[in-house]
């Protein structure tokens, strides 16, 4: 409990947490408000459209929150405060698990709040413009999927940070992973004529969690699509913690 409190104080007493969180919150809200207020034929907009707009635009927010969790560990190595932390609590595993739990809870909570606010704002505007919105289990699943994706990206960032320790390199890798690495891998897999390439691309696969059926004709959408990424991040964090227990701080 004390460790969780300590990690929470660490997270909320640095400026970068606020900056990134504000961007992560404002960006999707802005998109939703603009689209809902300015879209032409409101009658055609469905509940599913609104949810996808929120969840898709919030993938970036989830990534930014992942950067927050990366920095929560790499900053400690950069400033040397990790030595202060480990001297105060020699059981490193406890410290690192507490840090991961706090980052995870923070990411998922912020994502949930922003998502609900964006959704409520969007539907209020659209309702006022006489749109008829209806929701089904697919839209619910996309919203849950977004919160899960945000948790996974948070742990992805944390795991990368634990292993690399350097802020710039870790953030670069975290951002490049989805954008570049998996697209490269997709090309390689295509050349190799692998049948279902997305299974081997955990991030791309996980993105299906946040889409509503109209956006993906794919059969394998739904929360199960997140399993590969979940496995990757759990392994990454576990390896990261193990390495840090052995290495010099």
């Amino acid at each position: 409990m004390d460790l969780l409190r300590s990690e929470w104080i660490k997270l909320r007493t640095i400026r970068v947490t606020y900056v990134l969180t504000i961007i992560a919150g404002v960006f999707p809200l802005l998109i939703v408000v603009l689209v809902a207020a300015l879209a032409d034929n409101v009658i055609d907009i469905t509940g599913s459209d609104l949810v996808s707009m929120v969840t898709q635009s919030m993938v970036l927010s989830a990534l930014l929150l992942g950067v927050v969790s990366t920095l929560s560990i790499t900053n400690e190595y950069g400033n040397g405060t990790i030595r202060v932390s480990f001297a105060a609590t020699p059981n490193r595993r406890k410290v690192l698990v507490a840090k991961g739990v706090v980052a995870l809870a923070f990411s998922m909570a912020i994502t949930t709040i922003v998502m609900l606010v964006a959704f409520a704002t969007g539907s209020t505007i659209l309702n006022n413009r006489d749109a008829i919105l209806s929701f089904d289990s697919h839209t619910n699943s996309a919203m849950v999927g977004l919160v899960l994706l945000s948790g996974m990206l948070c742990l992805l960032g944390y795991g990368v940070g634990l292993i690399i320790r350097n802020s710039a390199a870790s953030v670069t890798l975290l951002v490049l992973w989805p954008l570049l690495l998996e697209n490269l891998a997709r090309i390689v897999l295509a050349v190799a004529k692998v049948k279902d390439p997305t299974v081997w691309l955990p991030y791309q696969s996980a993105l299906r969690m946040v889409s509503t059926p109209e956006f993906s004709s794919d059969e394998s959408s739904g929360l199960a699509a997140g399993i590969p990424l979940a496995i990757v991040v759990i392994v990454l964090v576990a390896v990261g913690i193990m390495i840090n227990e052995r290495r010099d701080a």
């Binding site: 300590s6 007493t13 400033n79 040397g80 030595r83 105060a88 052995r246 701080a249």
Partner: protein, 309 residues
């Protein structure tokens, strides 16, 4: 009580700490001395289980650091005053540390008061001078009122008044029966505050003893004699095997013969003495003497300090 037993730490081919063994006793300030790169900081990191040693152990009242659940209440350590997040305020910096051991806000205010940082408690540490950071570091050491404190060059960056203050704090802690291990380059400072010395060179123990024993053993000792007819003493002193250095017409410095003997010789030869004063070199002299004599030091290190001849 701290016991270091055969501590060894390598970084690749560099042996930073080599089979180091010594003890630090409670109620005394123990100075941890050694030239740059001799392994003081590395040894301290190993003691706190931050660096993983290749061999050996450091025991605090018989227990390794890793087994201590809430170390802030037992061992306070300041390794580097720069270990802060520049964007945090002084108070928040202390909160991150204190909260991990269940220490509350009241104690944070107390230690801030103790080190004189109350007025800047809400300022970001990034704007602090090195001296202010050292004070903040000392505040973090005092959080749990530990019985053992370990400080790596705490006087670094402090002004003369700050150095004096730090010295008083450490001497006070030792007087309360606490175990105090402090590394420093400032030998004159050490002479004023340390009771015991641990001297290392190239990661190895060179010598460990009390400061008085150390200085008595290694520093030059001589007797200063002033007399209107000092020349009459010259012959008898030489017969006693003394080496004489002339300072001026009436003053000489004598090595090799004690003050008592000189006094008796003067009386026997009817020489009036205006001054008969035993003198001793400083801890710094003794330190340079020993490090210059440390064989491995002279032959292997390209960064050995200037030799004294």
């Amino acid at each position: 009580m701290i016991e270091i037993q055969g501590l060894t730490k390598r970084f690749g081919k560099t042996v930073a700490v080599d089979q180091l063994s010594f003890q630090v006793t409670p109620g005394r300030v123990t100075g941890f001395l050694g030239p740059n790169g001799s392994g003081k900081s590395t040894a301290m990191r190993c003691m706190l289980a931050l660096d993983r040693p290749d061999a050996g152990a450091a025991l605090f009242d018989g227990r390794p650091y890793q087994t201590i659940k809430r170390p802030l209440f037992e061992i306070g350590a300041l390794l580097d005053a720069g270990y802060v997040h520049p964007g945090r305020t002084a108070r928040n910096h202390l909160r991150t540390i204190a909260s991990s051991n269940g220490i509350g806000l009241k104690r944070i205010s107390e230690v801030l008061e103790l080190v004189g940082l109350t007025e800047v408690a809400k300022r970001r540490v990034g704007g602090f001078s090195l001296g202010m950071r050292q004070r903040l570091g000392l505040a973090s050491v005092l959080l749990g009122d530990p019985h053992t404190v370990i400080l790596d060059e705490p006087a670094n960056g402090l002004d003369p008044e700050g150095i004096r203050w730090m010295r008083d704090v450490l001497v006070h802690l030792a007087s309360q029966g606490k175990t105090v291990l402090v590394s420093s380059h400032l030998l004159s400072e050490m002479a004023l505050m340390a009771n015991d010395l641990v001297l290392i060179g190239r990661g190895r123990l060179v010598e460990t003893s009390s400061v008085e024993t150390f200085v008595a053993k290694h520093a030059r000792q001589w007797v200063r004699v002033q007399s209107p007819n000092v020349d009459s003493l010259r012959q008898p002193l030489i017969e006693f095997g003394a080496a004489i250095t002339v300072v001026d017409d009436t003053t000489v410095e004598i090595v090799g013969v004690g003050a008592a003997t000189i006094g008796e010789l003067a009386a026997r030869h009817g020489v009036v003495l205006h001054e008969l004063a035993p003198q001793q070199g400083s801890l710094e002299d003794a330190f340079l003497e020993v490090t210059a004599n440390s064989q491995e030091y002279r032959t292997h290190s390209p960064f050995a300090p200037p030799q004294v001849s």
